[in-house]
């Protein structure tokens, strides 16, 4: 399989279809061969640590909305990557339609300090909805679209995790 990946420059990468990942293997990048061995995986099987040319690399893969890798952390250092082409099309996802969701999720963990609106209120795009506080800082969350507050999911004072649903805004009546 041939991959074209931008990371700084554009690189051509070949991974043999029949590669046995349980033993050390070789991957050709541009004109150079890299010896690769998987050292550790996460419990769900994703790669956690690699040995590349006999050097240890703890890796973390950040993915875009469509599941393609967008950022690679090599021992904590972030590298922006973009897979520009894949020889096979089996990885090509449909482009999702872009519409605006009214669900407000917590971008980061924090504590909900205050709401500026209640259920049933009409809010306008850009209007402050609530304050989330984390690490001595306050984040004022603005409405992503105009609509009606359908539901407030979390009480003031509650500590929320990343991605927790805080409130829902429905279409205007």
């Amino acid at each position: 399989m041939n991959y074209t990946v931008r990371s700084g420059k554009t690189h051509s990468i070949n991974i043999d279809r029949s590669t046995d990942f349980s033993a050390p293997f070789t991957i050709r990048v541009n004109d150079r061969d890299y010896s690769v061995a998987i050292r550790k995986t996460h419990s769900d099987g994703r790669i956690k640590s690699l040995l590349i040319n006999n050097r240890v690399y703890p890796v973390e893969v950040q993915r875009r909305g469509d599941g393609f890798p967008s950022r690679i952390f090599l021992k904590g250092v972030p590298f922006d990557v973009n897979i520009e082409s894949v020889e096979s099309t089996r990885y090509k996802p449909d482009q999702p339609e872009r519409s605006v969701s009214g669900d407000i999720h917590a971008a980061l963990p924090g504590q909900v300090i205050k709401y500026f609106c209640g259920e049933g209120d009409t809010v306008e795009a850009g209007q402050p909805l609530l304050i989330l506080e984390a690490m001595k800082m306050e984040n004022e969350i603005l409405a992503p679209k105009t609509g009606v507050v359908k539901r407030i999911c979390v009480r003031e004072g509650i500590i929320v995790a990343k991605d927790d649903l805080l409130m829902e805004i429905g279409d205007p009546e």
Binding site: P69, D103, M135, M137
Partner: protein, 507 residues
């Protein structure tokens, strides 16, 4: 000497206070927020008492009444406030005094309200120290424009009781003035829990920030320790510390040291304090005196061998400053970096979470203080500093190289950190030359540029390889975006966390 000391703080400083109190043969009690139940300070204290949540969801470490009541109930002799929180809170100091409990903070015979930046600045001016032009302190909005016009831009609005980078706002033009004023006052109310008094001061772009720790006992015995260069900051918080300062001439150093002696003798300071200066174009301006032990003081300790936390408690408990000046080392060079759980790529947004793996660097002349461990939770509710990494070399060059390699070894998984940025900064030519000022890292492009510098062509290839391998082998993961909806995507990168910032889920 005290028998029992209550420590009303968290994190590294609380753990350091617990140690120091125990080393002095006293009993260390910690008052803690439930979020900190797994911390070193709680583990190591002789007794630990959990604080109740507050009705307004503010941090319990700011709850004057609760902490004073606990201190009374436990009959402690003294309270150590650490830094930040109530360290310079006059109401807290007074409430403890009323109950006959000592407050471990510097006292001054000259100035009752020693934590008031504006009062101390006036005092320094009278003692002959050069100061930056500034206004009277005020509360009413009506004075704001009048004073600002007199001083002219850029200027800084400062809370008279601000600390830790909170309660200051740089104003570049009249348009920003009112919003800045309101922001500082909000912070006084919510985060500093102090009176709303502010003053204005001329802002000196590109000035160097230098601090001298000073110990002075009840008998007036005074030790001025080597200065800390604190010129790399983000949001007025230090990212790097060096001692001695690479840019201070011996003449300037000895002049500042004698100015400090004049000032602390005039004020009759009793305890530990830090005297801060701004330096630009060969001119030094007295900035302020802080009365608390700062994270950067570990650098002075590593250079000199003087444990400032312990000496502070010792002299304020009535002990003499018995340090033999002959034992204080002033040679060599220390550089340290503060490690924060935050994402410099997303405007330093805090990155709380669970520390999945942690490998601390170690080695000859590599020194770490860290309150995280494998499995630790970095709370979203508090400051994101998770470690101090200090190195010492015989020369500055040796120390910088050591710090660079130590930063390469420092590995944290589970939360994002500023480690790659610090590594990039320390290994940059600009840093080696000493050309870095407090606003150096303000621009995102600058930070991005620095981090790009440390990436080799081969590492870029390897990143590309890992991306392809990960797609090839691990396939496409279930998307976190709901079908047809987009605002959850990249939300964390788009959300800006500042002292007070607005953000909107990206559309």
């Amino acid at each position: 000497m005290f028998n029992t000391v209550l420590i009303a703080n968290r994190g590294l400083i609380a753990a350091n206070c617990v140690r120091a109190v125990k080393e002095l043969g006293m009993k260390a009690i910690i008052a803690y927020d439930q979020e900190d139940a797994e911390s070193a300070a709680v583990r190591n204290a002789d007794a630990a008492y959990v604080l109740r949540p507050t009705p307004d969801y503010s941090r319990p470490y700011l709850d004057v009444n609760q902490i004073v009541d606990l201190a009374s109930e436990l009959k402690v002799d003294a309270v150590h406030p650490g830094y930040g929180f109530l360290a310079q809170n006059m109401e807290f100091a007074q409430a403890l005094k009323d109950r006959g409990i000592a407050f471990i903070a510097p006292k001054s015979e000259g100035v009752f309200d020693f934590a008031n930046k504006h009062v101390v600045k006036a005092y320094a001016a009278r003692a002959g120290l050069p100061i930056l032009p500034g206004s009277e302190s005020f509360v009413e909005r009506e004075w704001l424009f009048r004073f600002a016009n007199a001083i002219q831009y850029p200027l800084v609005i400062k809370s008279v009781y601000g600390y830790g980078g909170v309660g200051m706002k740089v104003i570049h033009s009249e348009e920003e003035l009112e919003a800045g004023f309101n922001e500082v006052r909000h912070l006084c109310d919510r985060h500093l829990k102090c009176s709303p008094d502010v003053f204005l001061e001329k802002y000196l772009p590109g000035a160097q920030h230098v601090e001298f720790p000073v110990l002075r006992d009840a008998k007036g015995v005074t030790i001025v320790l080597p200065e800390q260069e604190c010129s790399v900051q983000r949001r007025f918080q230090k990212l790097v510390v060096e001692t001695p300062s690479p840019r201070l001439s011996p003449q300037m150093r000895s002049r500042l040291e004698s100015e400090i002696r004049v000032l602390v003798n005039r004020l009759e300071v009793f305890g530990f304090a830090t005297v801060e200066f701004l330096i630009k174009d060969g001119h030094a301006y007295f900035l302020e005196i802080n009365g608390y032990i700062q994270p950067s003081h570990t650098a002075t300790t590593l250079l000199t061998g003087v444990d400032l936390v312990k000496e502070q408690i010792n002299i304020l408990s009535g002990g003499d400053l018995e340090i033999d000046p002959g034992l204080i080392n002033r040679h060599g060079h220390v550089v340290g970096s503060f490690i924060y759980a935050e994402d410099p790529d997303a405007d330093f947004a805090p990155s709380p979470g669970v520390v999945e793996r942690l490998h601390l660097p170690f080695g000859e002349e590599v020194y770490v203080q860290s309150n995280i461990f494998s499995g630790a939770v970095v709370s979203p509710l508090y400051d994101s500093m998770v470690a101090k990494l200090m190195v010492r070399g015989l020369t500055r060059k040796e120390a910088l190289k050591k710090l660079e390699i130590a930063l390469r070894e420092f590995f944290v998984e589970g939360v994002k950190t500023n480690i790659p940025l610090m590594r990039a900064l320390i290994s940059s030519e600009e840093y080696a030359k000493g050309d870095v000022t407090p606003t150096y890292l303000d621009r995102p492009e600058q930070r991005r540029h620095l981090v790009e510098q440390i990436k080799t062509a081969q590492e870029q290839e390897i990143a590309a390889l890992v991306a392809a391998l990960s797609l090839h082998r691990d396939g496409i993961e279930e998307s976190p975006v709901l079908a047809g909806e987009s605002n959850a995507a990249d939300i964390s990168a788009a959300s800006r966390w500042m002292n007070r910032r607005r953000s909107t889920p990206q559309v």
